[in-house]
Amino acid sequence: MNLQILLSIAEPGLNHFLIVSALLFSLGVMAVLSKRNVIMVLMGVELILNSANINLIAFSRFTALSLEGQMMGLFVVILAAAEAAVALAIVLNIYNRFNTINLDKISTMKG
């Protein structure tokens, strides 16, 4: 039994990758929900996007999806970069206005 588990880890299959990506996704969501610093929240978003990428690559390696999956992975990488650039610019502006990047303190609107 133990030997089988060891062997399966030595030769990872689709499920292993999906488990890793699910863990990464959960960590990302956790970071988004628990962190109050905008930068940390954005790191969580990056984790979520990268977990989706692991999914794509794994599917393209192990299923009939083939190269299409890797092509999409490339698009997601570019998109993550674009989003991060815009997000950091907005965070910089927020820092200039509010002198903080703590999400709880950036709150002038209520209701």
């Binding site: 979520i48 996007l49 599917f59 999806l65 299409e68």
Partner: protein, 495 residues
């Protein structure tokens, strides 16, 4: 390969024109210091794109290797998007709020063009990657636009809240998309339909994937429980952008939602009237969607009751309207979708109109609080009457267009047997009367202070208002051409 690309380019003219417009605006921004040049360039681009759409006529083709569909359904919404953008550009040219950012007006119109391009792609995309990219193109442009007036604290806050909610929900949506792609082995939604019919994927995996995709859509159409960003962003963003977000981006996301769910999960042989997303076992998706619609109507309308900022009040009202629209979608009948199309045409004019008057009043009197609207109807009678008309139409009282829109959507839901949902919709419509009428009461039933004079608005603003008033009134009385147009436009590629 080359033939396919050349063939596709012929059907891609309006989008190409928008890309060219975008480049021209960037270039013109380098050479001119005049604030309004980029705006007029964008208007020219819009007119040219509209001409290209008309010249292209009605077609039913899949282009770029099944990435994008050019069909009557997409054409209908492309026209609506062009009209919306045209109005928003006209508003922006007059906005005092944006005048303070003169030197950056090129950026503003460039981003607006980018957003429009994203929405053009959204209404046509039939491939999961294309869908996601178009959605992100729209979103990223709108994050920047929401924070465009960056010296304003509220605007900065709006953009940071928007990008965080947006990035997280699109990330979750992307994860769902990858699971769906993996389960079906393809990203083309026609092939996904075939794969699902052949029994690909386990129900658990599929249901998780669809739930995650629904998060992304729910965010974009601002429906409960994914609406938390909407009030803050709508309040903080410049009025013109608020109007654009509440009409155009909601519209494009709805089109994407309808196309995606209809083409992926219903049996194409059965047509629009098939009643369920039958390829998804396990969860009763209709009921889930109906519940979301009901919650949106209840939460939107009840929360709007206690708002004082008019932009925030209209934000909650637009959440409620998303609920009515979602009701037309989840009943899953052809009649329901036709009524959604009709609703969008009328919603466009009445909502843009309401935001335009808000913009005029806020520029002239500096008021955004409903309390401070007291007596404004006497100081600006024409604008006050126009606002009254738009608000009455948003409530859905005859003889305005809003009544026709609601009538059709309620009628479709009743004939599909969703009585409980229609009851909720009816009750919440009555509730909505209170907060819309409060604005009208403040405008007309209070006399202004002695010192306050009448205010004359420019001729340009009167013409724009008339352009918005006439459709709202006309569509309340004479609407059969609109209904015919909507019925013929309900023709999706592959159905």
């Amino acid at each position: 390969m080359v033939e396919q690309a050349l063939f596709s380019l012929g059907y891609f003219l309006p989008e190409i024109i928008l890309v060219v417009t975008l480049c021209v605006i960037i270039a013109a921004d380098l050479f001119t210091t005049r604030r309004d040049v980029p705006g007029y360039l964008l208007l020219t681009g819009l007119v040219t794109a509209a001409a290209a759409l008309v010249w292209q006529g009605v077609s039913n083709e899949a282009i770029f290797f099944n990435m994008i569909a050019v069909d009557p359904f997409a054409l209908f919404f492309k026209i609506l998007l062009l009209v919306t953008t045209g109005f928003v550009v006209l508003f922006s040219l007059q906005s005092a709020e944006l005048k303070a950012y003169k030197s950056r007006s090129g950026e503003y119109y460039m981003l607006l063009t980018g957003m429009l391009l994203g929405m053009f792609l959204m209404v046509g995309s039939t491939h999961l990657l294309m869908m996601f990219l178009a959605l992100e193109l729209t979103s990223i442009s709108s994050y920047v636009l929401a924070g465009f007036t960056k010296n304003n604290l509220k605007s900065s806050e709006a953009s940071v809240k928007y990008i965080i909610y947006g990035a997280v929900s699109s990330g979750i949506m992307l994860y769902g998309i990858t699971l769906l792609i993996g389960a079906a082995g393809t990203a083309d939604i026609f092939l996904i339909n075939e794969a699902l019919q052949a029994g690909a994927g386990t129900p658990l995996l599929l249901n998780i994937a669809i739930l995650m995709i629904l998060v992304g859509f729910g965010f974009k159409i601002a429906v409960v429980p994914f609406h938390f960003w909407a009030p803050d962003v709508y309040e903080g963003a410049p009025v013109t952008i608020t109007a654009y977000l509440s009409v155009a981006s909601k519209m494009a996301a709805f089109v994407l939602l309808i196309r995606f769910f209809t083409l992926s999960f219903t049996d194409p042989g059965a047509g629009f009237g098939s009643g369920t997303w039958e390829l998804l076992p396990g969860i009763n998706w209709n009921l889930l969607g109906g519940g979301m619609a009901a919650m949106a109507m209840i939460v939107g309308n009840l929360t709007a009751l206690r708002q004082d900022n008019i932009k925030r009040m209209l934000a909650y009202s637009s959440i409620a309207h998303a609920g009515y629209l979602l009701m037309g979608v989840v009943i899953l009948t052809g009649q329901g979708l036709v009524s959604v199309l009709i609703y969008f045409v009328i919603y466009l004019f009445m909502n843009l109109g309401a935001f335009y008057v808000v913009m005029l009043f806020s520029d002239k009197f500096g008021v955004l609080s409903i309390e401070n609207y007291k007596g404004l109807g006497h100081r600006a009678p024409f604008e006050g009457m126009a606002m009254t008309l738009f608000l009455v139409s948003l409530t859905g009282i005859p003889p305005t267009g809003g009544f026709v829109a609601k009538l059709y959507i309620f009628g479709a839901a009743i004939s599909a047997g969703w009585i409980w949902l229609v009851v909720i919709a009816g009750v919440t419509t009555i509730i909505s009367l209170f907060y819309y009428v409060r604005v009208v009461r403040n405008m007309f039933l209070f006399t202004p202070e002695e010192s306050a004079d009448k205010v004359i608005f420019g001729m340009g603003s009167k013409i724009i208002l008339l352009l918005l008033i006439i459709p709202v009134l006309l569509l309340g009385i004479y609407f059969s051409p609109l209904i015919e147009w909507a019925a013929t436009s309900l023709n999706m590629l592959g159905m």
